[in-house]
Symmetry: C2
Subunit: 148 residues, 2 copies
């Protein structure tokens, strides 16, 4: 799977969440051989959960896996990962994080690089616009999700 | 609530998880006014979840909260927090992290301090012994939980 195909899955998840009245951030975890391990979106509204962000939902939906399954894997996410999702990628030794955009929020990209994770920012207009629209529409919900 | 009372709740959670056949790590999130916001334990076995560690389960069980609810709060955890749980505490601006022990696993304590979080290690023998016993009994399950 190439990076634009991986990000497209993450963006589909983000749109699904938006259409559910949720926070439009999606993610997909792809193994080193290109197999999709799991995909998911922020579930703060849908589950009432503060720990189901896009990336952690993709991990949750990937289920229990041995460490070797994450080796060489890529986490696709529509938005720059927050501290929690940054840490989740580090815990499991995810090798690459491919980010739709970091204009609406800049998360732990520097720390990921410092810890040896490859970070790619695609600066995708669809991701940027959907997130901008959401922040305009529901600023309080967005603040809650990033603890501000 | 003093630190030994907070840690006692986290340890009760750890024992519950051990008795369920799960990973014996527990946590409790206590607000600045001493109110218990939530408590929980690792749910890898019980839920098949790679994102429900002790600390993230305590956050999950605390539900949706505004940022101000976490101000001045303390996360009690029986074991030094992994990168994911370290990041979760940073995301929500938790002020203190009180740790039962860091002999069996040393997590993101240095990074928490670097980011301005107060870290206290109680070096509690009950926490240390329960975790040691678990690692002896189920080394593969433990490795899976820390991505090694
Ligand atoms: Ca998210
Ligand atoms: Ca745990
Ligand atoms: Zn996140
Ligand atoms: Zn953890």
């Amino acid at each position: 799977m190439d990076d634009s195909a991986g990000l497209a899955i993450a963006f589909e998840e983000a749109k699904t969440s938006y259409n559910e009245g949720g926070i439009p951030i999606g993610a997909a975890l792809v193994a080193s051989d290109g197999k999709l391990l799991g995909r998911g979106h922020n579930m703060r509204v849908q589950l009432g959960s503060p720990i189901h962000h896009g990336e952690t939902s993709a991990l949750f939906n990937s289920g229990r896996l041995p460490a070797r399954a994450y080796k060489g894997s890529t986490m696709y996410t529509t938005l720059s990962p927050c501290d929690m999702c940054t840490g989740a990628c580090l815990l499991y030794g995810i090798s690459r994080v491919v980010i739709g955009e970091n204009t609406n929020f800049l998360g732990g990209e520097g720390y990921l690089k410092q810890r040896g994770v490859e970070v790619v920012v695609l600066d995708n207009p669809d991701c940027r616009e959907l997130m901008s629209q959401f922040i305009r529409e529901k600023p309080e919900l967005w603040k809650e999700d990033i603890g501000t």
